[in-house]
Symmetry: none
Subunit: 197 residues, 4 copies
C-alpha cells in the first residue's frame, strides 16, 4: 500500500493521506461550497452541494462530518490568506496605515462570506486548526496595534479580539446598508479606536 501523504499536498492546504481522487473530491466540494456562500446561499445543504460537486452525499459526509466542519474548512482557507496579509501589514512603515489596509482587506473577506465573518468574531468553540489560525492572526494584529499605540493612534485597553469583533460589527452595518458606506463605517471604526479626546 502506498502512502499519499506528504510534502506537496501539505504545502497547498490539502489534507494529508488522501488518495488523489479523494483529494480532488474534497477540493470540488469546497469549491462548490465557496460558490454557494458567495452567491448568498448560506444554508449549505449538503445534498445540494453534493449534487453540484458531482459527488454523492456520502462522500461529502466522509470529508465533512457535519455542516460545521465544512464551514470551518472554508474559513481555514480564508484565514490562510488573511494571516499572510496580517503578517505583511504588521511590518508596514506607518502602523496606522497598515492597520487600515488590513481591516479593509478583512472587511471585504467578511462581506463575501457571512460564515467566515461569524467564525472570525466568535470566541472559540471551533476546531484546533481554526483556533490556531485565529491565534496567528491575533498575533500579527497585536504587533500592529502595539506599534500604533506607541504612535498614539490606538487607545489603550483594545485587544486584537476586540478589533476582530468590532470589524465584524462594521461588516453587519455595511451589509444592512446599500454597500456604499464601507469606507465611511470603516473610518468611524478607526477613529473610534483612537484614544478618546
Amino acid at each position: 500500500m502506498r502512502a499519499y501523504a506528504g510534502n506537496v499536498a501539505a504545502r497547498s492546504g490539502q489534507r494529508a493521506g488522501l488518495r488523489p481522487d479523494a483529494a480532488r473530491n474534497r477540493a470540488r466540494i469546497l469549491q462548490v461550497a465557496r460558490e454557494q456562500v458567495a452567491g448568498g446561499d448560506n444554508s449549505l445543504q449538503l445534498n445540494l452541494i453534493a449534487r453540484l460537486a458531482g459527488v454523492g452525499v456520502g462522500t461529502v459526509y466522509r470529508h465533512f462530518p457535519d455542516r460545521h466542519a465544512l464551514i470551518e474548512a472554508l474559513s481555514v482557507e480564508r484565514f490562510r490568506e488573511l494571516v499572510e496579509q496580517a503578517r505583511a501589514a504588521s511590518s508596514a512603515e506607518d502602523p496606522q496605515e497598515g492597520l487600515r489596509g488590513l481591516l479593509r482587506f478583512t472587511l471585504d473577506l467578511a462581506l463575501d462570506d457571512t460564515d467566515f465573518a461569524s467564525v472570525l468574531s466568535s470566541a472559540g468553540g471551533e476546531r484546533a486548526q481554526t483556533s490556531e489560525m485565529k491565534a496567528e492572526l491575533d498575533e500579527a494584529l497585536a504587533v500592529l496595534l502595539d506599534r500604533a499605540r506607541l504612535a498614539g493612534t490606538i487607545r489603550s485597553g483594545i485587544e486584537a479580539d476586540d478589533v476582530r469583533r468590532l470589524l465584524c460589527g462594521v461588516e453587519h452595518a455595511v451589509r444592512s446598508g446599500d454597500g456604499e458606506r464601507r469606507e465611511l463605517y470603516l473610518g468611524v471604526l478607526l477613529e473610534g479606536l483612537r484614544p478618546p479626546r
Copy 2:
C-alpha cells in the same frame, strides 16, 4: 358582530377590535414568542409557540399569517418603547449625553432580541406599521444628531440610519464577546462618530 374595541385595549398596545378572548390569545402568543427569542431560540416555530401558548396552531396562524408577521409584531412593541425614549432623549440638555443614553438603551434592547436588532438595521421591506415606527425613531434621532453636530460632537455625513446600523454592528460585537465589553464598544462608536481629527 359586536365591537370589542376601545378604551382599555387601545391604551395597552393591543390590537383594537379584538374580542377579549382573542386579545388574550394574541397576548399569550406574543409573550411566548418573546420568551423564546430571549431564550436564544430564533427559529420561532409556529407549532411550538402554539403549544407553549396553549392554543391551536390555527389560532397562531389567524393572528400572524407567517413567521415574519410575528417577528414584526414583537418589533413593534420594542419600537414603541424605543420611540418613547428617543423623544425624551432628543430634548436632553446635553445632546451628546442624550445620544449616549439613547444608544445604550437601544443596544440593550437589541442584545435582548436578535430579530428586533435585524429589523432595526434593515432597510425597509417591512410592513407599514414597522416603517412608521422606524421613521418616528429616525426623526427623533435626527434631531439629536443635528443638535450634537452643532455642538461639534458629531461628524457631518452621518444620518440616523447610519447610526442605527452601526449600533447593530456594535450589538454583534458585544454579543460575540463575553458581554463585558458593552461600554467599551459603545465608547468606540461614539468616539468614532465625532468629527475626525
Copy 3:
C-alpha cells in the same frame, strides 16, 4: 311571537318560517355560492363563502349543515328552471326538435355548474326536494321520449334517466375539449338515441 312563514316566501322558493333577515342571508349565501361555481371554483369552502357573503361561518352552517346541502340547494334552483323548460318542450309540435332544444338547454346548465351536472346524473342519495324535482323532470322528459319514439326517432329501451346520464357524459366530453364541439357531440348523442340501423 310573529310567524314569518307563508304565502309569499313559499312561492318564491324561499324556505318557510324564516325571519326576513335570515332569508336575506340565505339568499346572499346562495348567490355567492352560485358565483363561485360559475367562476370555476368548485371547492365551495364555507369559510370563503361566508366571507364573500358578508356573514359569519356559523350562519352558513345554520342554513346548510354541510357542503352537500349547499350544493343541493343550488341544484334545486337549476332544476326549477329546467323543469319549466322540460314542460314546455314536452308539448312541442315536433318532439325530436323539442328534445334537441331541451337537451341543449340542459347541457348548457351542466356546463355552467359541475355540481349540478353531478346531481343531474347521480342515482338518488339526495334530499327529498331534489328527488322530487328530478322526478318531475323525468316525467316531462319521458313524455317527450314516448312521443319521439312513436315518431320513430328514439330507440326503445332508453329511459329518461339514461338520457340524463348520457347527456352528462356529453357535458364531460365537451368540457374536456375546447368547447367548440358542443353541437357536434350533441348531434352524436341524438343520432345515437335513434333506433339502430
Copy 4:
C-alpha cells in the same frame, strides 16, 4: 455509481437505470397506488401510500415529485396496454367491429381508474411520456376511423380525440348508473358516430 440498467428491467416497463432495490420500491408504490385507485380512493395521499407500501414518505417523493407524477405513471402503464390493443384492432378485418372492441376495452380501463379516464380525455398538459402514448393511441385509432369511414360506418368530422372524449363521457354515464348499461351506452355512441341519416 454502478449502472443497474438493462435487459430485464427494460422489458417489464421498469424505469431504466434503477438499482434493483429502488426498482422494487417504485413497483411497490405503483402497486399500492393502483390498488387504492381500484378501491375507489382517488385522493392518492402520498403519506398513506408510503405507509401501505412499507417505505418512507421521502422515497415516494423521490420517485414521484408530486401526486400528478404518480397519476401519470399509472396512466402510462394503462396506456401501454391500450396502445397494444389499439394496434391489434387497427388491422382487424371489419373496422367497425375492431372499433367496437377497442372502445369496449378502453371503456373498461376507464371504468377501473378515474384518473386514467381523465388523462385519456384531457387535452395536453401532461408529461412528454404521456403525450407520446396518447399520440400513439390516436394514430392507431385514426387508422381505424379512416378505414371505417371508407366503409361508411363513421361520419366525417370526427377525429380520434373526439372519440376519446366521447368515450370518457360514456364512462361517466355508465359509472353514474348501475353499471348494467355499459353495452347499451356503448351502442348509442357507436350509432351516434355513424353518418347522420
